[in-house]
């Protein structure tokens, strides 16, 4: 008894995790649509994957704007006189807007059956799509005072999470054995990469000094344990890898099951990483 402190809020709420999730899927879906120009088995995904990507991009953008306390001022982020290029958010804003513009152009050329331009826009859009999970990772990485976030893993982890969640969604609309096999590999390899990165992340967090150590405790045995360890790692990463390795994991139904689990995991991991990095400091 007898302590007095001012309480502090976590600046970034769970909405950001939903944004990370949505935008990650959008990026990966664009990538699959772009891939269809170069790999014939992806052809069935060309239009549906693009549609999903575009809808989620719009939803993600709106979510981001709505989360600002001054939503109408999101235009400031497009004002060259204001932009601060040492902030990943500034780069992210530009990336998001250019990706949106390229997506619209790509949609138009696809409708006109202009294959040559579509192919070029597909490549440009895919590179911009890759930028989305990278910048969201950097958003977290740059804060040197935050355990879990401040590791070079974040951008790479977010790319892997994006690919995994995107492939999981794609299994629900995919047709054709060859395509399904490719998606299975995408899910397996990216889930494997996520699992490997999580092991390192847990290691550096557990032994990263007192703030990190406490964060590790909150994320494993503490309030976030069920979400991070339970949903994120066991249900959302280990279980789907196991399913994908069995025989039924090679059928579409098994893949859908794994995909569903991966989506749960992808959301849980993003949420617990976002919140995990903020718990300890609210007490400082």
């Amino acid at each position: 008894m007898g302590d007095f402190n001012i309480f502090h809020i976590m600046p970034w709420s769970g909405t950001y995790a939903i944004y990370f999730f949505v935008i990650g899927i959008s990026a990966a879906m664009f990538f699959f649509s772009a891939l269809s120009w170069y790999r014939p088995e992806f052809q069935v995904l060309r239009k549906p994957a693009f549609n999903v990507s575009f809808v989620l991009l719009a939803a993600g953008g709106l979510l981001l704007i709505a989360d600002l306390t001054q939503p109408m001022r999101f235009l400031n982020i497009l004002n060259p006189a204001y932009l601060n290029f040492s902030s990943p958010l500034a780069w992210g804003g530009l990336n998001l807007v250019t990706f949106g513009l390229v997506s619209i152009a790509y949609f138009m050329t696809m409708r006109k059956n202009d294959e040559a331009t579509s192919r070029k826009l597909a490549v440009a859009g895919a590179l911009l799509a890759l930028g989305l999970p990278i910048y969201t990772g950097f958003d977290l990485t740059v804060h040197q005072n935050r355990p879990v976030w401040n590791t070079p893993l974040m951008p790479v982890l977010f790319v892997a999470l994006s690919l995994l969640s995107g492939a999981a969604v794609a299994t629900f609309i995919a047709k054709g054995e060859k395509l399904l096999e490719m998606l299975r590999r995408f899910m397996l390899w990216s889930a494997g990469a996520v699992a490997a990165m999580l092991v390192s992340l847990l290691g550096t967090t557990a032994y990263g000094g007192s703030g990190s150590e406490l964060t590790f405790m909150f994320m494993t045995s503490g309030t976030l344990g069920a979400v991070f360890l339970g949903l994120g790692i066991l249900v959302g990463t280990v279980a789907p890898i196991a399913v994908l390795l069995t025989n039924s994991g090679k059928q579409q139904s098994g893949m859908m099951l794994a995909g569903g689990l991966l989506l749960v995991g992808g959301m849980a991991l993003r949420y617990s990483i976002l919140i995990g990095g903020q718990i300890v400091q609210t007490y400082f």
Partner: protein, 234 residues
């Protein structure tokens, strides 16, 4: 000896420039909270949020107990991560003086600066305020820029009954803050973050400056208060 400067934004020891700093002598702080009140009055700081605050902890077990205060405020870091993090330069550092200030009309409310400040020095202004329409943007201590540029000291320094808070230009070797920082052992908060804070403490205790283990099992009464606070402020 000149200070090692990593980033060009730092102005400590740069000739011809002021670098204001605050020294807080904890041996003299009696925890009267007059500074908190002076700050609230100076800026009409809304309920529940603070530009400066004085947390205390009771350390030890009877009969060896001690009540410790640690006045807190923005450290006006020489290499401020909040300035780096703001996408629209709504937070910026004044080159001459080292004040870290806000442009209220530009802030979009993304809270990146709050995420990047290791000291919880920043807060979001509420939707409704009585005397001003500056709402829903991030705010923080300004080192009383408006007073200091008029030759006064910050309101909290002016009012401090114990003369625990001392303010001045660290780049001026004849100032009182230079004398204190150069002749006494001082501490800053979380120096490992590389922010180069410019609030120096004399006699800060590790029980206060470290992130304590106790937060893993916080007292129930604290958690009840916290839940109420979060309801009102998120």
């Amino acid at each position: 000896m000149s200070e090692l400067r990593i980033s060009s934004i730092e102005t400590r020891g740069v000739p011809g420039k002021k670098r204001y700093a605050m020294v807080i002598d904890l041996r003299r702080c009696i925890g009267c909270d007059a500074c908190m009140v002076a700050c609230k009055a100076e800026f009409d700081v809304p309920l529940g949020v603070f530009r400066t605050w004085v947390p205390y902890k009771v350390i030890g077990k009877y009969p060896t107990v001690r009540k410790m205060f640690l006045p807190r405020l923005c450290n006006h870091c020489d290499d401020p991560p909040c300035v780096r993090a703001c996408p629209v330069e709504a937070t910026y550092k004044v080159d001459d003086g080292g004040f870290v200030l806000q442009r209220y009309d530009r802030c979009i409310g993304c809270k990146a600066c709050m995420a990047s400040c290791p000291y919880n020095a920043r807060f979001m202004l509420p939707k409704h305020r009585t005397y001003t329409d500056i709402t829903r943007v991030v705010d923080k201590c300004t080192f009383c820029h408006h007073r200091v540029t008029q030759g006064l000291v910050p309101a909290c320094v002016q009012t401090c009954v114990g003369r625990s808070r001392i303010f001045g230009d660290l780049n001026d070797p004849a100032s009182e803050v230079s004398y204190l920082v150069n002749s006494l052992p001082t501490q800053v908060l979380r120096p490992e973050e590389g922010t180069k804070p410019h609030v120096f403490y004399i006699g800060a205790d590790r029980n206060h400056t470290e992130i304590g283990r106790k937060i893993y099992n916080p007292q129930d009464v604290m958690e009840v208060e916290r839940a109420v606070f979060n309801q009102n402020h998120s």
